[in-house]
Amino acid sequence: MKRYEIGSNLLLRTFIVLLVTTVLLAQPGLAGNKKIMTTTAAKVMAERALIESVYGLKIRATETVQDMVAANFSGTTETKTSSTMKGVQFDEVIYDETKDVAKVTASVRLDSIKNIDDQTLDLKNKVFRRVAFATSTPSQAGPLKALRAAELDAYKQLVKKVVGFTLESQTTVENYILTSDLVKTKVIATIFLATVNEFGWTETGDAYVKMALSVKEVSEILGQQVIGESEVIEVEGAGAQTDDFTEQRTKKKRT
């Protein structure tokens, strides 16, 4: 009877081991659409980047800080764009199987386009190129989210430099010494023809995006004189993977 039980247990264990091995071995064969989903997402991201670059985008950003304490800081940036673009080509599609991350380089050659402000831009067959990433694995999304945050930060900075922004504040002057009590900035504007010159991640994992806008080129394309024609306005946006600012604020509130 005991011998029979030992035999039965051994058989069950062998069966479980075989089943697990089969499932593990069969996995690469089963996972078929992950690569397609990730590369498709990267292509969509690249198309969005091109639309933002050429057609333009609407940006709404606010920043508020009270008593100049970082814990009392709040900043938001929202973007919006919607357009139809024909002739987008995907020059390079790279898929990293181990990370499940796709990198897509897309380009478009355009003769003219109606931009976000309904202005006709004479682009003279100019080629626009943008790079985008995507993943369908949430654990790999950190660096990509940081990159998008850096991109939005760069757009915001560019808008602030090109269009300007509103500053509202309450300040205390005491014995000729200034203390900022409340500072608010806000900007709502559209921007187009911004180019990304460089992007990447630092050793610490923070992302950066170097963006530029050639005011001279914009005035030539628009056929209108824009202030500071010789200028190329350059900015560098930053984005982080982890929100250690909120974490620290929450910890402080608890203690």
Binding site: K160, V163, G164, F165, S169, T171, T185, T204, A240
Partner: protein, 114 residues
């Protein structure tokens, strides 16, 4: 006794403590490496400097008091240019208030009724 320490559950315990001691600073430091805290601090510093620059441009700035302003900021040659929409310097005085006397209000509306 010494032999017992070198083997068995005690050895496992010692190894675990060693692992925690070694791993803790690494985990703590890796958390301090990346994040948005530094970026927020930088943004706060920039806002403070910009506001102070704007306030300094207000004529008749009091030596002590409050300043409220609203301005459009544009950049020219990389430097901010302020176009003030409104500036308000509410006056505050430390003075005794008497309830047994009349108070005159010096405004255009009141003058019109005289």
């Amino acid at each position: 006794m010494v032999r017992a320490l070198r083997s068995g559950p005690l050895r496992f315990k010692r190894l675990s403590i060693l692992l925690i001691v070694v791993a803790s600073p690494i985990v703590y430091c890796s958390d301090a490496f990346a994040g948005n805290k530094e970026m927020v601090e930088e943004a706060v510093k920039e806002l403070d400097e910009l506001n102070k620059e704007a306030v300094r441009q207000i004529s008749e700035l009091p030596s002590s008091g409050k300043v409220e302003l609203e301005t459009t900021v544009t950049y020219q040659d990389g430097l901010p240019v302020f176009d003030f929409t409104s500036t308000r310097i509410p006056t505050e005085k430390i003075q005794e208030i008497h309830f047994n006397e009349g108070h005159k209000i010096d405004s255009d509306e009141r003058k019109g009724h005289k």
